[in-house]
Amino acid sequence: MLRNPIITGLALSAALLGATSAIAQQRVLVFNTDTSDPAPKAAFEQLIADFEAENPDIDVQVNLFDHEGYKTAIRNFLTADSPDLANWYAGNRMKPFVDAGQFMDVSDVWSDNGLNEKLASAESAMTIDGKQWGVPYTYYQWGVYYNKSVYDQVGAKVPETYDQFVENCKLFKDAGIDCLTTGTSQMWPAAGLFDYFDLRTNGYDFHMQLTNGEIPWTDERVRNTFAAWNKLVEPGYITANAAAIDWQDAAALLSQGKAANYVMGNFAVATFKDGGLTDETLGFFPFPTINPDVARAEDAPTDTVHIPAGAKNPEDAKKFLAFLARADTQTKLNEALGQLPVNNESTVNQDDPFLSQGFTMLSEASGLAQFFDRDAPAEMAASGMEGFQEFMAYPDNLDDILNRLESDRQRIYK
């Protein structure tokens, strides 16, 4: 950036001088984050630089964690050595920390900044016991990604309803192409499928009640969900042996034209494009309608920032949250992240067909689910996903699977 050595030297010495004089009144804000991948890392560096530019008296110190390691680390640092800010996820994922009193109630940040309107789509996911516990800054849509050339090859049209989707599957099957691909060796892709079958069959409220443990898994309506799913499983329209395939390997099947559709999150677009698809050959459509009487709801996992209860500088941390919630901040941050801003006054990059489609879809949605493993408590999520994985391999085991999930439900939600 600073190519000229003299200017660099000057800037350095100025920075050093500035640092020494500023130490006295500069307040420190410690921020633990898991944004270790290149794009999020750069996005957050920019975000923090912008915040510091607006608040010269605050010095944000970032502790960068590896994305996976962070999930374990957060449990240690929240109890041992709290930062002032920490990344996490919305929905039931934050519930253990809220219940254990590890996150600070930030309802005042919401009410003072009118966030209840601006971040309305994520409000329910951030609310536990009528209070808000953090600020959402990004999410991404889930839906069906498809290979346009394969659609052209068999003469299929982009389906509006699930029946049309299943009819297309017959065309694909005859052409020797997997209609729907997935790779569930890490289990969560199966949960995305279940979320959509349930949201489209029974609707958002039912889905939330189910993941909250208020509805038995043996309920007739849950069976309807699986019955809809089975229209793809029984005839073999889904990639075989999905349980031993990584989601990236399944993405390769779509890129290579061996599969037509993939229910995925928008983060997968980069993987599809690495596999050779372009904006011209890769398409996106919202998961088709199953029950026309049900309002459309979507999966949109939300990433959030929280103030730990043990924060040493909660005043400035709240200032940061207010900054993070602002429309212009979220526009800029999400442009760098390649995701969608939560603030409804933000804008998205219209050149990206997937982001602009996703933004429209989510703003028209009647409700946003967080994804099965964030809506349901961890243990239920684990056994649920295992059941979904089994269902796709052995649909005849459904009764057994549902009975197991039901007995798990009775044990887990007390």
Binding site: F97, A100, A240, N241, A243, A244, L253, E379, E390, R404
Partner: protein, 305 residues
């Protein structure tokens, strides 16, 4: 020195008097301290945790034998236990297989060292690498094994997607380095087989299997003992391969106790420390049965000599 002979005298003599007895303890102290802190204390703590319901964040609540009672009715625990037994039984194949290869390689041909190194190679590479290689070997659509079965039978078998075969697939991957390990133990053992006894047996007309069974094997008993011990322990603590190859799947059918413990206590969807600790205690007790047996045998052998 000369100023206060009385004060120094008795002290020095106490050290002198006890030096012989104290020295071993002093040398042992660092090791004993580490062992106590990193082995004994965690074992005791696991026992203690197993009586609590604890998520690692909130205060612990005492549940008595509750975790163990739940284990008894937990389908996944039974699956893990069953798989551990399969592991234990099939892993034992590494001992005779290692012996076979060792006998085969125990000859003087040009370049035998290269062959020996090649056979030993799988033990040198990391278990993670072994796991990844076998995962690709079995992988649906592009794996070598999948292609082979597709060519032979018309439909490819994805071993790791099939709940019936997956555990055997993982054990096969585990056997590969384990056989190499047993082989090297037997190769060193074979070096120490007394040539005069072989000679004498040969004069008496012993050949082939009889020679192996009555003359060679008895002399290899120490090697066999070590091979069995490392194989039993290797089978019981199998974790890395399960974690790399299937993550316990498909639908939890390849879990073993150590992996289930990790899942319940430390994985993304776990954090039931008490329940995980209870699984650890069960695994510990199973291991204790074998370890006690081994230690008992070792002590008996030492006394016998």
């Amino acid at each position: 020195m000369t100023a206060l002979p009385d004060a120094h005298g008795p002290k020095r003599s106490w050290w002198r008097a006890n030096q012989q007895r104290l020295t071993p303890w002093l040398f042992l102290a660092p090791g004993a301290f580490m062992f106590a802190v990193y082995v004994i204390y965690p074992i005791a703590a696991s026992f203690q945790f197993s009586f609590y319901d604890w998520d690692g964040l909130s205060p612990k609540t005492w549940v008595g034998w509750g975790n163990y009672a739940e284990l008894w009715g937990d389908r996944n625990f039974i699956i893990s236990l069953k798989n551990n037994i399969i592991w234990l039984v099939l892993y034992m194949l590494a001992v005779p297989a290692g012996l076979g290869i060792a006998i085969f390689l125990n000859q003087t041909v040009t370049g035998i060292r290269i062959y020996k190194s090649l056979f030993f190679f799988p033990f040198v590479i990391s278990q993670v690498v072994v796991g990844l290689m076998f995962t690709w070997f079995y992988a649906p659509n592009f794996g070598l094994f999948f292609k082979l079965t597709e060519w032979l039978t018309g439909t490819g078998t994805a071993v790791l997607a099939n709940p019936e075969y997956a555990t055997y697939g993982i054990i096969a991957a585990g056997l590969w380095p384990q056989i190499a390990y047993c082989m090297i133990l037997y190769l060193t053992g074979l070096n120490n087989v007394a040539p005069d006894q072989i000679e004498a047996a040969r004069l008496d007309g012993a050949r082939g299997l009889k020679m192996l069974w009555y003359v060679v094997l008895p002399q290899l008993r120490p090697a066999t003992f070590i091979a069995v011990v490392v194989t039993v322990i290797g089978a019981l603590r199998s974790f890395d391969l399960v974690s790399i190859m299937t993550g316990g799947g498909p639908f939890g059918q390849t879990r073993v106790l150590s992996y289930y413990m990790y899942e319940k206590a430390l994985s993304e969807y776990g954090y039931r420390m008490g329940y995980g600790a209870a699984i650890a205690v069960v695994l510990f007790l199973i291991m204790m049965v074998f370890i006690t047996g081994f230690v008992w045998k070792m002590v008996r052998d030492e006394r016998g000599r």
